[in-house]
Assembly symmetry: C2
Homo-oligomer: 309 residues x 2
């Protein structure tokens, strides 16, 4: 079983409008709604590739109930600790040209609510094949919260994959997780200056290993990814074919592929191949957490993996 | 007791952002949320002026529950018939320059759900001093639905105020309500051409009386209103002082003032004075259904009522 922590889930709402006008009043043509947040997106992709997981997180208020109900509909196992504050919404207004996104600040979680989550986590992690810590921490939770969960997972013998950014990521790395997976902007934020060339990205990945992570994947959008494994081997991977569409959630599909690969003890080549294909297949579909199976199968034939070291 | 039908309530959500950018990703600074829809706004204003009412309407899904909970918090009596489809949201994104609004299409109501509402309505209307039918009809409900409610109210001896537009208004007028209260744009929609001068507006009000309404108020924004009473007298009313702010909900404050005036058998001068003052005091406050009491008291001293006929 893969245990996924989604500490700051959201109700993702998508509004289709003909054209967004500042100051205008819009009749929304179509409303789509699904439970979201990085961890839940990862669980959704895992479900579609036939891998069960359990999502540990928070849910509060009527929006929390909607997240609950949507996970039930999607048959994704979950253990959401009830909180007093309300789960956040994220609204994407999509017109012919672009997507305009509004992210609510989200709930403030109390110390005792966080304590309940850590107890749920400890109970589930006992039998976990892999642990995924994905997305932002809610307000009210200490910056080093992920670091504590990494230690709990280690005590239970489960490898941890962290997909976070900023201080939460910094602290998590110092706790020595199996793998961290920032994108190139998130990785750059931990250093001074941009990461342009493959050499830059590789150097950053090495630096993150030096700080505590056993393995590192840095994703680079349509340019693919750079991976440094637990034994120091380094690869780059990308697809020769570009997929156009909505990149939201592509990183979560990548995390899902890697988590499954780790759970099944697949080798790094298989993991990276699946990761590139799933991420691209997710771009082909509008909603985060979903992917197009035909695109996945097609892209798999076009992935190029280079041994950098 | 004033009975208010709010057949298509909404959860009104307001997002404060520094500046709306098309294609951008926005951190929402502040989220406000309250039950809305014209009928609920009327009930909220009535509450603040010390007049109890009961809202009859629909509520479905988690958004319906949020509407429910907010009415309970505001201590507004309600009898919301449960529906299978979900209550709609309306989102206003407010930045330094403007408000940009997204209205969801709202639920489709089934014939048996509408039947339940009419039964609730009939049960409450027995002891009603005034009935208010406010706002749009939900999808799935016949265009002449308000006309049937007007007949039910008449059978119970209760005068009816209608605040609607388009076909729902057209049919309601033919059923002979006590008063209709379109704004100038809504009134113009029922005729050919714009209503510019006071003479135009008065002629339109007379035409609406000829179609079946006993009395008519046509509101004209900062230009005040034109009223024709049940005995054919005509007035214009406006404030000498202009209030700057958010006009959303000002029409609902006007309806609330008139409903209270009718319930208490106030004369037309008192009704119009209160209506102009409450509408202006509502403009002074950001959220619909709320008003500033100091502004109300101040504006009351500046209202000019002219006898047109």
């Amino acid at each position: 079983m893969i245990v996924i922590v989604c500490a700051n889930p959201a109700l993702d709402i998508t509004y289709a409008v003909p054209s967004l006008r500042h100051g205008g009043s819009h009749r929304v043509r179509q409303v789509r709604e699904q439970a979201g947040g990085k961890g839940i997106n990862v669980a959704r992709v895992l479900k579609q590739i036939g891998t069960d997981s359990v999502v540990v997180g928070f849910a509060g208020g009527p929006i929390g109930e909607a997240v609950h109900a949507d996970l039930d509909t999607a048959k994704i196992s979950h253990k959401l600790t009830p909180i007093k504050a309300h789960t956040r919404r994220s609204i994407a207004v999509v017109d012919a040209d672009d997507a305009t996104v509004f992210n609510e600040p989200g709930p403030v979680v109390t110390p005792s609510e966080w304590q309940s989550l850590t107890e749920q986590f400890a109970a589930h992690v006992a039998g976990a094949s892999v642990v995924v810590l994905a997305g932002s921490l809610p307000r009210g939770v200490a910056e080093d919260a992920y670091a504590h969960l990494v230690h709990t997972a280690h005590d239970a013998g489960a490898p941890v994959i962290v997909d976070a950014d900023g201080h939460a990521l910094r602290h998590a790395i110092a706790a020595g997780p199996y793998l961290v997976k920032p994108n190139v902007a998130e990785a750059a934020e931990l250093f001074d200056g941009a990461l342009e060339s493959t050499e830059d990205v590789l150097a950053a990945a090495d630096a993150l290993r030096a700080r505590g992570a056993s393995a590192v994947i840095i994703s680079r959008g349509s340019r693919g990814l750079v991976a440094v494994t637990e034994d120091g081997s380094a690869f780059s991977a990308h697809s020769r074919q570009t997929v156009c569409g909505n990149p939201t959630g592509a990183g979560d599909a990548l995390t899902a592929a890697i988590a499954r690969g780790v759970a099944h003890s697949h080798d790094w080549t298989a993991r990276l191949n699946e990761a590139i294909a799933l991420a691209a297949a997710c771009v082909a579909v509008d909603a985060a957490g979903h992917f197009d199976e035909a695109t996945r199968d097609e892209i798999k034939q076009t992935v190029e993996i280079k041994v950098l070291r």
